[in-house]
Chain length 184, copies 2
């Protein structure tokens, strides 16, 4: 459950910054939805940790686990706060977008063309993250979103991918999306 | 300044989890040190945002910037909380380490051998992040630490590297460190 909390909290931060960059309320709403999942998991972790403490008569481990879960929960709260900037209808200032784009790690939007080597392959087959440094964090397919895609998610022509990764990997990623290069 | 805050807060989270995995107080102390930097930047951002609001007679942008900075500050506070688990002298439970190692993104420790292709090259020359997905977040050289190395940081034989990246990139990274493979 801690693994799940950590993964979701990291996805929430990435999505929150994406929502800000693309001024997109649907992504921002997903961050709020994920917060509910985090809260449920957080409560279950607390319960289990205390039950285990009673059974083992050992409080140290329960304290550490609750503390870690509390910190992860606080991170996800911050992600919601960032996402709420988008939901508040304040026109986002270009400086905000730039400050996210120009970090060491950036967020970029690519569209999978028909001739792209990414089309009709799963993320697991492509190994994009370990081959290019770019993580696909969300996919927009027609009007539907896929948030936090897994290894089994297949990319289709026309998909719009939101990806996170090093600035140096962006050009290669966009070329893979457009089909300008086929070498991953 | 927002870029700086965002970069530092992300480094803090990575280092906090690293401190937990390796039960390392020096890394945990660095997280606390970086929190001071965050706090200074946070105060300066607030001042500047309010001054600009007065000058432009426009409160909307100041509010958004302060809100974003507040969220990033909260993220860095959470990183400190995670790091403090290590500083509290509670023996870390293996489950905690596993929960970090087994996420989608993992943290790994490699040692640069003399025959490694990484030796005596800068991170900028190597393009590790975009070629392998692995980010070097800290380097231990003899008894000294280099936290958040830049493009200009040169890797030396004997360096121990803490790197973050996709599980699928770990083996390749360790082979590059040991010299078992030279192809980045």
């Amino acid at each position: 459950m801690l693994i799940e909390m950590k993964n979701i909290s990291e996805l929430m931060i990435d999505l929150a910054y994406s929502a800000l960059i693309y001024d997109n309320k649907e992504i921002a709403e997903e961050v709020k939805y994920l917060e509910e999942k985090i809260d449920e998991t957080y409560e279950r972790i607390q319960e289990l940790a205390i039950q285990t403490a009673i059974e083992t008569k050992n409080s140290a481990i329960a304290l550490v686990i609750i503390r870690l879960a509390t910190s992860i929960e606080a991170i996800s709260d911050s992600a919601v706060q960032i996402a709420e900037v988008v939901l508040r209808d304040i026109p986002p200032h270009p400086i905000l977008r730039e400050s996210i784009r120009e970090g060491d790690i950036t967020i970029v939007l690519g569209r999978v063309s028909k001739k792209s080597v990414l089309a009709n392959k799963t993320l697991g087959e492509l190994n994009l993250a370990s081959e290019t440094g770019m993580w696909v964090i969300a996919i927009k397919r027609d009007k539907k979103w896929i948030f936090g895609p897994t290894e089994n998610t297949k990319l289709l022509p026309g998909d719009r991918l939101i990806a996170k990764g090093p600035v140096g990997g962006v050009k290669h990623f966009l070329n893979l999306c457009s089909g300008a290069t086929h070498k991953i």
